[in-house]
Symmetry: C2
Subunit: 184 residues, 2 copies
């Protein structure tokens, strides 16, 4: 996949089979049977019921030392054993976005250990973060995170989400949808 824009299509078609969709917080999203991940900008076609768009971007919180440690441990998407995936769509509250950089970093890492928690699940869980908030004025989510892992790491992935959702950062999440997928 080249280019920074990525579109996630939910509906009756697509490479990934939806195992489960959960509304964790806020408004729901139409149920989809399958999901496709495509590079570039795109419109919903027959067989697709919704499209969520995101863009990969520069990192917002990580320090050089953290980035180097992540780079040592993380693996790419598309590993042959990664037959499981998850799309976690998040929106943060207006309160979060009104915080300054130092305040957000303090909640994100000093209090919530977002980077530190994620690091403990590497290399098993591969991930790619897509930003949506600055794609336009009316995006339904702020972030779309795509995760890939092997069957045997599903319990670890659940634990990762449980740890993050228990953190102070998650008090600022006002919409969250959790979509679990399998190559089938």
């Amino acid at each position: 996949m080249t280019g920074r824009l990525v579109a996630f299509f939910g509906g009756d078609t697509g490479r990934w089979q939806v195992q489960h969709m959960s509304v964790i917080t806020g408004a729901t999203l139409a149920v989809a049977k399958r999901l496709d991940v495509l590079a570039g900008d795109a419109n919903v076609v027959a067989g697709q019921s919704w499209c969520l768009r995101g863009i990969t971007s520069n990192e917002r919180y990580v320090t050089r030392e953290e980035k180097n440690r992540l780079a040592e441990k993380q693996q790419d998407l598309g590993r042959p054993q990664s037959v499981c995936a998850a799309l976690i769509a998040l929106r943060k509250s207006a309160t979060w976005w009104a915080l300054t950089q130092d305040e957000r970093r303090r909640i994100f890492e000093d209090q919530s250990r977002h980077i530190g928690i994620g690091m403990r699940y590497l290399p098993a869980i591969a991930r790619r973060l897509h930003h949506c908030r600055d794609l336009g004025a009316d995006e339904p989510f702020d972030f779309l995170t795509w995760f890939e892992f092997a069957d045997a790491d599903t319990a670890a992935f659940d634990l990762l989400l449980h740890e993050l959702r228990s953190s102070p950062e998650w008090r600022y999440i006002d919409r969250e949808i959790d979509i679990r997928l399998r190559l089938a």
Copy 2:
């Protein structure tokens, strides 16, 4: 103006008269006689030759203490005496975007005093920053900054730009267009 998306139209029509357009770094932009600033998404119509789009967003570097000091001193756009304006369109290099947050902050403020320099020109120079980089994969600029000031503050504005352009941060600017405007 409500909403976060803002479009700047250059061409033969518009509320602002272009006094001068300078290419500081990188590729040029078609010469325009007038410029309009409109809220929301929009397409170029007759009389307009180009459109640059940006979105206001959360602050990326400022700390709480800096934000409070800025809030005390800064004034809004649209002051009656603000008959002069400038649109500075900037793109930063891939090297910049590959830096981590702590590295970017160090260059932005510790070395370049971007916030500190801007603060010294408040309240004379009013400004609004628009982000473009995450609007899509092919935006021509990363930032559009709109400045407004009185006739008598034009020399101060030139000095502000001179200070910023002399800073280490500007080594990472690979495209810059400077458009000076007047209500006429």
